[in-house]
Symmetry: C2
């Protein structure tokens, strides 16, 4: 619906924003490059000026979704409790876009800016808690898997409150185990 010679004025962040809307409205199956182009009223291949391909789009979506998860001060009095708070806020954030969650597994995690930031903060907190350096990657991975997996199955069946309670209980057990490893 543009005049001749008029630019669409697409933007990478406009593309990502529209992708989030398509995902929310049409779900995982509805998130296609062509549906995204239709929503933006551009030709399908116009997207490739702003995103490398569909995997690149999804990876950006996954990482950007973690942006609102803030990291606690690394000098917190109880570092392991701070890790727990991070994981609870990650879990809550994941549930805000349930259709995105399985994609973390399909893409084997997020690897962008925010994922790195959160991972580095966790590592610093583990170190300050006295977790031996060689145990840190395993501990970090286990907690991430717990949050992602719990979020993936939370929307599956039944009661959200019960799902969150199970997540919180499991998180506590894992943190206790990690603490005991010192």
């Amino acid at each position: 619906m543009r005049g001749p010679g008029e630019r669409a004025g697409l933007t990478r962040s406009a593309v990502l924003g529209a992708a989030r809307e398509v995902l929310a409205e049409a779900g995982l199956r509805g998130l296609t490059m062509r549906a995204l182009a239709r929503r933006l009223e551009v030709a399908p291949n116009a997207l490739y000026s702003h995103v490398p391909d569909k995997d690149g789009l999804v990876d950006a979506l996954l990482d950007e979704h973690l942006a609102p998860v803030t990291d606690p001060p690394t000098d917190s009095a109880d570092p392991l409790a701070a890790v727990g708070a991070m994981m609870r806020s990650t879990y809550d954030r994941l549930l805000e876009a349930p259709d995105l969650v399985p994609l973390y597994f399909a893409r084997r995690g997020a690897r962008g800016e925010h994922a790195r930031r959160l991972g580095a903060t966790m590592d610093a907190l583990f170190a300050r808690a006295g977790v031996p350096a060689e145990s840190i990657p395993g501990a970090r991975g286990t907690l991430i898997v717990h949050a992602l997996g719990s979020a993936a199955f939370a929307t599956a069946g039944g009661d959200p409150a019960a799902s969150r309670a199970a997540f919180t209980a499991g998180l506590g057990w894992l943190l206790t185990g990690i603490a005991a490893q010192r």
Copy 2:
């Protein structure tokens, strides 16, 4: 390559077997109804006589993959240790078809015969261990998420032995936590 009037003689289990081969050879993206039909040398729509649709095919694949996971005797001396053994053997089985693992999340778990059998065995073991009835679904869910999630990320980066060690450690912490709940 059949003569006129000659039946292909397709079978549901032949379809599933070929699907496993396609998945192993061509990966998740390569597993398409049409690629499966090509391998079986039938028309694509011939598959729909043996499988309801692609989701039904995947669901069958997911559940059948758990068939070799045997359940321990429910009168085992240490019921929680028996649950631990079940989860370790599930984890190992999952790693035999890494491409299948993300599909458990996309399909939100397996819900067929074998998934039900393993779930019922876990519940019986938890009950025998003295876990309160209202805690059993959460405990079961948490352990399943841990096994599936650990398997999903095991093939992602690096050392399989380290991944398995992290899985085993996490499993122990979760079982300790579940035991403490009694």
